[in-house]
């Protein structure tokens, strides 16, 4: 499949994940307020909610890093395509005529080596992308653990238990959603690498 098209899709996915991370941050802030009303019993819940907020920040930062790497990837891929087209046109001309072949020989070599160099850079960016991805997957796994703890802590919420349980449930859903999307992102990234 077309590299630039996949990259555009990945970028959309990243934007969605950043939105979801913001949702978590808002929900967690809201949960901290509810837990405060629930009094000292819900101290555990507050702690977990703070961790959730940290988790959402980390995800947002990670996504911004990915986004930057992808931007570099797009710009160099576009340049590479352009150069590749030149290589093709120069080779076409060379193939048609002996003198053209002689005269264009160094242009063909030069433009091909530019393309090769860009491909090296692209493969380095892809490596960084994969490393960043692995880190994000781990962050997401710990996010799931925190979301589940929120569910457990909500039981100590006294009269606010139902409200806290609802919050915990919705956080768990969102974190789950993020996890699924990040998995999808990982697959898309391997498609670009392939």
């Amino acid at each position: 499949m077309n590299e630039l098209k996949i990259i555009a899709e990945i970028n959309e996915e990243i934007k969605k994940i950043i939105d979801l991370a913001e949702d978590i941050s808002l929900t967690a802030t809201n949960a901290i307020l509810i837990a405060r009303q629930a009094g000292s019993n819900a101290v555990g819940f507050s702690v977990v909610a703070r961790e959730l907020r940290m988790f959402s920040d980390k995800i947002a930062t990670a996504m911004q890093e990915l986004s930057q790497l992808i931007y570099q990837q797009v710009s160099i891929t576009a340049t590479k395509r352009n150069r590749l087209r030149s290589v093709l046109k120069l080779n076409q001309a060379s193939a048609r005529h002996e003198l053209a072949q002689t005269r264009l020989a160094s242009a063909c070599v030069r433009s091909q080596s530019e393309v090769d160099e860009m491909e090296r850079v692209i493969s380095n960016i892809l490596k960084s992308l994969q490393i960043a991805m692995k880190r994000t997957v781990k962050q997401c796994a710990s996010g799931m653990v925190i979301a589940r703890s929120a569910g457990i802590e909500s039981a100590h919420g006294g009269e606010m238990t139902i409200a806290l349980r609802q919050v915990a449930q919705s956080v768990e859903n969102v974190v789950n959603n993020i996890a699924i999307r990040i998995k999808k992102l990982g697959i898309q990234l391997t498609e670009v690498t392939a």
Binding site: L90, Q92, A93, R96, L99, A107, R110
Partner: protein
């Protein structure tokens, strides 16, 4: 395959026309390129679009060593004129490109840097090609707002860019206009629709009528020679064009 034809020769001084490309896909407009040389170096007019680079380059190779080309001349900024620039510069990074000052920041989107372009001021410019002296003749607003033709006083040949262009059917593939009356039918719509200004047209016709021209060589279609040159200028002078038709 495009064909190279010597249309003027006096000693080493030559005009080589690169025209008619039956292999070209129909969605691309057919273009003529002209190579003007004094034997030591050459200038190529409106080198064409990137899609036809290989055809132009190999057609030149049949008749002339491309390594001797020192300059390109772009009558204006259109893609069918100069989008092959980056490929020409891949071939020879030292090539210069003469171009209206209006387009010197637009055409680099097709390739080239500060070093590449020699800006032609609105009033025109003398362009040396080895021992030859060519003149960039203003043709603004016909059709581009920064537009130049090229006059070779010694050869009495005039490169007229899009003026004189005709979208000829496949059976009319002569290099020169054979039957003016029949030919001009295929030029009418293009001139009416592409040429924007009656006033600019008047100025151009007056200016060009004063020059001694044996051949008027357009970027599309057949070349006008002899009496057809004056016939064409008169026809164009009378033709309602552009804003005059709204």
């Amino acid at each position: 395959m495009k064909k190279a034809t010597i249309i003027y020769q006096s000693g080493e001084h030559q005009w080589i026309a690169l025209a008619r490309d039956p292999e070209k896909p129909n969605y691309l407009i057919d273009t003529n390129e002209y190579l003007i040389t004094d034997g030591t170096t050459a200038l190529l007019t409106d080198p064409g679009g990137s899609e036809i680079f290989s055809m132009v380059f190999t057609a030149i190779c049949d008749a002339y060593d491309p390594a001797k080309i020192g300059a390109l001349f772009a009558s204006h900024q259109d893609p069918d004129i100069i989008s092959s620039l980056s490929l020409w510069l891949d071939f020879n990074p030292d090539l210069k490109c003469y171009l209206s000052r209006l387009w010197s920041t637009f055409v680099p989107h097709f390739g080239g840097t500060d070093e590449t372009f020699i800006e032609i001021p609105d009033e025109g410019l003398n362009i040396p090609v080895g021992s030859l002296n060519l003149q960039a003749v203003p043709a603004h607003y016909l059709h581009s707002s920064g537009n130049f033709h090229l006059y070779d006083e010694t050869a009495r040949l005039f490169f007229s860019g899009d003026i004189g262009a005709a979208m000829l059917p496949p059976d009319m593939n002569d290099l020169f206009v054979k039957n003016f009356a029949r030919h001009i039918d295929y030029a009418t719509y293009f001139h009416q629709r592409w040429m924007g200004s009656k006033e600019a047209k008047r100025v151009w016709c007056e200016r060009v009528a004063k020059l001694k021209i044996d051949m008027l060589c357009p970027q599309h279609g057949a070349i006008y020679q002899g009496a057809d040159v004056e016939r064409f200028i008169n026809w164009f002078d009378e033709l309602p064009v552009g804003t005059g038709l709204l």
